[in-house]
């Protein structure tokens, strides 16, 4: 029944020839450098928190992540995040910034449909998948570690 056309070979050849390639290598390098720098900066923040404000290591980690999320939300709201993400890609998507941005951007986008049914219902539209699969995989990891512990 399903009649889904596949790209025909002759047309695929034309497409391959005429379509500009994604700059995968340079994207990877940019993402690696930027993502790494971001982590270095955050580590510095953590060290400062521990050294000067007398946080313990665990608290400092939480606080610095919260700061990063706040910074992401701010950049998203000011409209700079998406421009930066176009350049550095996964360098921003992999750290917690990607998750924060997906929630913040949805909150802003659906504000026009109201606080509850708009922003509220849609805030996890993109991030929901991360939460669901995060919990599911955590469950299985816990199960495996439990079984290993028993054996």
């Amino acid at each position: 029944m399903s009649k889904k056309p596949k790209v025909q070979l002759w047309y695929k050849n034309i497409l391959d020839e005429k379509t500009p390639k994604k700059p995968i290598l340079s994207n990877c390098i940019k993402a690696f450098v930027f993502g790494g720098l971001l982590c270095v900066v955050l580590q510095l923040v953590q060290n400062l928190l521990v050294g000067y404000l007398a946080f313990d290591q665990k608290e400092a980690a939480s606080v610095s992540l919260v700061l990063l999320i706040a910074a992401t939300a701010l950049l998203t709201g000011l409209g700079h995040y998406d421009k930066l993400a176009q350049i550095v890609g996964a360098g921003l998507a992999v750290p917690i910034t990607g998750f924060a941005n997906s929630v913040a951007s949805a909150l802003i986008e659906y504000r026009s449909e109201g606080y509850v049914l708009g922003s509220g219902c849609n805030s996890f539209k993109l991030a929901g998948a991360v939460v669901v699969f995060g919990v599911v995989s955590a469950f299985f990891v816990a199960l495996i570690s439990l079984l290993l512990g028993v054996v």
């Binding site: 889904k4 056309p5 596949k6 790209v7 025909q8 047309y11 034309i14 497409l15 005429k18 379509t19 500009p20 390639k21 994604k22 700059p23 994207n27 998203t76 709201g77 409209g79 995040y81 998406d82 930066l84 993400a85 176009q86 890609g89 996964a90 921003l92 998507a93 990607g98 941005n101 997906s102 913040a104 951007s105 949805a106 802003i108 986008e109 659906y110 026009s112 993109l126």
Partner: protein, 313 residues
């Protein structure tokens, strides 16, 4: 963005903000279309009461921008959907009603908005995702045309139109719009030339809707393989023209408003100034939805061609 492009002379009016002074992007889009429609009527030297039929479409779900514009204009209304090809689809229908005598004047409008299209078809506007270099940028623009029977002082004539077939060569990547639509444009151009039994050179310019830089190259390649002979300099694409080579728009502009504004604003002006005599406008549309592409469906594309001629006064 549109104002900074090389085609800013094609537009009558620019809004300084993307909501056009309204509360939401959607309301802004509707306001832009309403303004374009009223401007077209007044430029034609007519009043709202003179218009017998309003034909319009846009990219939003249930074509709400058009419906709300029709509510505010208070005109008999036919809502249409042809994705980015809506401009020429509407023009063909408007011309049909007028030439059959069912309407004295018909108004064909269309609009698209970058932010509402992003919201509906892709991700939230502020969401950071990396777009490939062949992606296109939905134009925030509207275009309207009033069609009536020829009278002294008429400057442009709608000669004929070709309703295209839906062509689908199996492209599934919703960022590859140009590649999905190029075969449809090719098919319609060749059918049109065959039906009219004219050579491509009969037209001073062939203007495709919004294939973008990538799609234009593919379309040109497909046409050349079919023995199509033409000068590439006169084979324009509205998506390439609207913003010029701008890295922010990747492969070029798209959206209903792209073809409408450039065809009506730029090329019709050239016809009126007698710089061009005969043009063929080929609007292209990708008939996909976010749902269909998530269900791994390919992208069917449609294309409508309209031949326009300047009239010697």
């Amino acid at each position: 963005m549109e104002q900074q492009g090389p085609m800013n002379g094609a537009f009558d009016f620019f809004y300084p903000d993307s909501r056009a002074g309204k509360d939401s992007f959607e309301m802004g889009e509707q306001a832009i279309e309403e303004r374009a429609s009223l401007l077209a009527i007044s430029k034609a030297g007519l009043l709202l009461e003179n218009i017998d039929l309003f034909i319009s479409g846009d990219l939003l779900n249930q074509i709400t921008s058009s419906g709300f514009t029709a509510r505010n204009l208070g005109l008999p209304y036919l809502g249409i959907f042809g994705a980015c090809s809506t401009s020429m689809q509407g023009l063909i229908l408007a011309s049909f009603f007028v030439s059959c005598g069912y309407a004295k004047y018909a108004l064909a409008s269309t609009v698209s908005h970058n932010c509402t299209a992003e919201k509906q078809f892709r991700y939230p506007n502020e969401y950071g995702c990396q777009k490939p270099p062949y992606a296109q940028y939905t134009a925030t623009a509207a275009g309207s045309a009033v069609v009536g029977l020829a009278k002294p002082g008429s400057q442009i004539k709608v000669v004929c139109g070709t309703v295209g077939k839906v062509v689908d060569l199996g492209v599934t990547d919703p960022f590859q719009m140009g590649a999905a639509m190029a075969p449809a444009a090719t098919d319609t151009i060749l059918t049109h030339l065959k039906d009219r039994q004219v050579e491509a050179n009969y037209y001073d310019a062939i203007v495709t809707g919004d294939l973008g830089f990538v799609g234009r190259e593919i379309c040109w390649d497909l046409l050349s393989r079919s023995g199509f002979v033409y000068e590439k300099e006169r084979f324009y694409d509205c998506g390439c023209l609207l913003y010029g080579k701008n890295p922010k728009v990747f492969s070029g502009g798209s959206g209903c408003g792209c073809c409408a504004s450039i065809a009506y604003g730029h090329f019709c002006k050239l016809l009126m100034e007698k710089k061009l005599k005969r043009i063929l406008v080929v609007a292209t549309g990708a008939l996909l939805s976010p749902l269909s592409s998530q269900q791994k469906e390919s992208i069917p594309a449609i294309s409508y061609a309209v031949a326009l001629e300047g009239v010697d006064a």
